[in-house]
C-alpha cells in the first residue's frame, strides 16, 4: 500500500504585522477561514505572525491578496506542523 498523501499547509509570511493583521481582517470578512500562527521556523528564521491557510482555502486567500493589494513576503508550503500528541512544551 502506498503511503497516504502527507497533509500540507500554507503559511503566508509578511514584512510587518500591520499587513498581516490587515490581510487577516480582509480574508475573515469574506468568510474564509484562516488562522494566525507564529511563523514556523521551517518557513522563516524570523519571529512573528503568519497566516496559516489550509489547502482548500489557498486560492481564495491568493485572490484576497491580489484584490486587497496588501503586501506579503511569500507563501510557504510545509508538511503539517501541528501534532497535539507531540508533548513538546515550551
Amino acid at each position: 500500500m502506498a503511503d497516504p498523501m502527507p497533509v500540507t499547509d500554507y503559511y503566508v509570511l509578511f514584512f510587518s504585522h500591520t499587513s498581516g493583521m490587515a490581510l487577516y481582517e480582509f480574508v475573515r470578512q469574506r468568510g474564509i477561514r484562516v488562522r494566525i500562527s507564529p511563523a514556523p521556523r521551517a518557513a522563516t528564521s524570523c519571529c512573528g505572525m503568519s497566516l496559516l491557510v489550509e489547502q482548500r482555502e489557498l486560492e481564495a486567500v491568493k485572490a484576497c491578496i491580489e484584490v486587497s493589494g496588501i503586501e506579503i513576503d511569500k507563501i510557504v508550503l510545509l508538511p503539517r506542523q501541528i501534532d497535539p500528541m507531540r508533548h513538546k512544551f515550551c
Binding site: 504585522h17 488562522r35 500562527s37 514556523p40 508533548h87
Partner: protein, 423 residues
C-alpha cells in the same frame, strides 16, 4: 517578516540563546492551540499576541519609555497595578513559565527552588526576555522564601523594590498592607516624577476594575453547561492580561465575552455534551506553561476554571470606587488585595472556601489540584485542600509537576485514570 533583532540588540539581549526559544514557541503553540477545533473568533487577538510576543508589546513599552515614561515589572497578584498606573507608569508581568529559562536560574539558585522563580531569575540574568530587559524597576513581594532571596540576587542587576506582604489576616495586617501601599506610592512617584492624587488613583482604580469585570465576564461564560471556550483559551486570555495595556485588555476580553455569550445562547460548545468539567486549583501557570490544560483537554475533559493567580485570584473582588480621598482609596486597595487567598497566609481557610464555592459555581465534576514542584507552601496546603474536597464528596486528584516535558505521559495516565474514575 517583522524583524525585531535590532530592538533586542539594543536591549542588550543574548540573541543567539533567545533564538532557541523563538524556534520552539511556534511548535508548542501550534500543537497546543491551533490543533483545537471551532475556537471563538476573538481568540485571534490572543494568537496574534503570542505570535508577536517578544515584539509588539515590548515595542509599545519602549515607546512609552522614549516619552519619558517608566515600566514596572511585577511577579504577583498582590502588587497593586493601580498605584503604578496612577503615577503614570506602565506595569508588565514578569513571571517565567518556560523550562527554557530554568537552567539560567539554576546557575545561582538552589536546585530545590520552584521552576517559576528559576525561570524568572534565568530570564533576567541570561538576557533572553525583552520584558525582563525593559522594566526600569522590579516590584517584588514576600510571598515565599524562594522569592525573598531571589530579589536579593536580582537586585544585583536591576533596581528592585520589595513589598512586605503580611502573612495573617488580622486587623493590624490590613493596616500594615495599607502602609506598604503608601510606601509603594512614594517609590513610584520618585521613579516617575509623577504625583499620585485622589483623582489619578481614582481613575486607575476604575481602569483596573474594568479589566477585572471584563475577565470575570469571560469566566462567567465558562460556568455555562454549554462550554463556549476551551480551558486552554481561557488560560491564554488570563496569561496575556498580565502583559497587556489594561484598557485594551478589557476591550478584548469584553469582545470575547460578547461572542461567548452569543455562543451560549446558540448552544455552541467546543466540547461534546457530557464532557467532564474540571476545576484546576493550585500554583500559577505563567505563560507559556500550557502543559496541564493540554493534557487534560486532550484526554477528553474540559478545564472550566482556574483557582490560581493566573485565574480567579487575578480578577475576583473589585476595589471600592466610592472613596474620594487618597487615604480612603489606599485602604480600599488594601482591603481588596487582602481578600486574595494565597498559601503564604496562615491560616488560609478562605482558599478552601473559594475552592468549594468555585467547584459549585463552575459545576465541576472533579478537581485537579496542582503544585509546582518545590513550592512548599502550596504543597503543604494541598493536604487540607484534598481533605476538604473529600469531605464535600468532590473527586480530586493531586498532581505535582514542573516545566519539563518528561513527565507528560505519566501525567496523562494519571489524568485519564482520574477521568475513568469520574465515570
Amino acid at each position: 517578516m517583522a524583524d525585531y533583532r535590532k530592538m533586542w540588540e539594543e536591549l542588550g539581549m543574548d540573541l543567539e540563546s533567545h533564538d532557541t526559544l523563538c524556534a520552539v514557541l511556534p511548535v508548542a503553540f501550534g500543537d497546543t492551540y491551533l490543533s483545537q477545533e471551532n475556537r471563538p473568533e476573538n481568540m485571534a487577538f490572543y494568537d496574534f499576541v503570542v505570535s508577536e510576543i517578544h515584539g509588539v508589546r515590548p515595542s509599545e513599552l519602549i515607546e512609552h519609555q522614549k516619552k519619558g515614561g517608566k515600566v514596572l515589572g511585577t511577579f504577583c497578584v498582590y502588587v497593586p497595578d493601580e498605584v503604578a498606573v496612577a503615577a503614570g507608569a506602565v506595569v508588565t508581568g514578569l513571571c517565567g513559565g518556560s523550562q527554557f529559562w530554568v537552567p539560567g536560574g539554576e546557575k545561582v539558585l538552589p536546585k530545590n527552588t520552584c521552576s517559576l522563580i528559576k525561570a524568572s531569575v534565568g530570564a533576567r540574568l541570561d538576557r533572553t526576555c525583552p520584558f525582563f530587559r525593559i522594566a526600569d524597576m522590579y516590584i517584588g513581594e514576600t510571598t515565599c522564601d524562594g522569592k525573598k532571596k531571589a530579589w536579593e540576587i536580582l537586585a544585583e542587576d536591576v533596581p528592585v523594590h520589595v513589598m512586605d506582604l503580611p502573612q495573617m489576616k488580622r486587623p493590624q495586617d490590613y493596616t500594615k498592607w495599607a502602609d506598604e501601599i503608601r510606601i509603594f506610592i512614594g517609590v513610584v512617584e520618585k521613579l516617575t516624577g509623577g504625583k499620585v492624587t485622589a483623582e489619578s488613583l481614582g481613575a486607575a482604580i476604575r481602569l483596573i476594575n474594568n479589566k477585572r469585570r471584563a475577565l470575570a465576564r469571560v469566566y462567567e461564560c465558562r460556568k455555562s453547561e454549554v462550554i463556549p471556550i476551551s480551558g486552554k483559551d481561557g488560560l491564554l486570555m488570563t496569561q496575556i492580561a498580565f502583559f497587556d495595556d489594561p484598557a485594551r485588555c478589557a476591550e478584548m476580553a469584553n469582545k470575547l465575552a460578547d461572542e461567548l455569550e452569543k455562543r451560549i445562547k446558540d448552544g455552541v460548545s467546543v466540547f461534546p455534551k457530557g464532557t467532564k468539567r474540571i476545576l484546576l486549583t493550585g500554583t500559577p501557570l505563567a505563560i507559556p506553561n500550557w502543559k496541564l490544560h493540554h493534557l487534560i483537554e486532550t484526554s477528553g475533559a474540559a478545564v472550566v476554571c482556574e483557582e490560581m493567580c493566573t485565574g480567579t485570584r487575578y480578577f475576583e473582588h473589585l476595589v471600592d470606587e466610592s472613596q474620594t480621598t487618597l487615604d480612603g482609596q489606599v485602604d480600599a486597595l488594601a482591603a481588596r488585595y487582602m481578600k486574595n487567598n494565597c498559601a503564604c497566609f496562615t491560616p488560609n481557610t478562605g482558599r478552601i472556601d473559594d475552592i468549594l464555592r468555585l467547584a459549585r459555581e463552575y459545576k465541576a465534576d472533579g478537581v485537579i489540584n496542582t503544585n509546582l514542584k518545590f513550592c512548599g507552601l502550596y504543597d503543604t496546603e494541598s493536604r487540607s485542600v484534598m481533605r476538604a474536597l473529600k469531605d464535600a464528596g468532590i473527586p480530586a486528584l493531586n498532581i505535582e509537576t514542573d516545566y519539563t516535558d518528561t513527565d507528560a505521559e505519566q501525567l496523562r495516565t494519571r489524568i485519564q485514570a482520574f477521568l475513568e474514575l469520574l465515570g
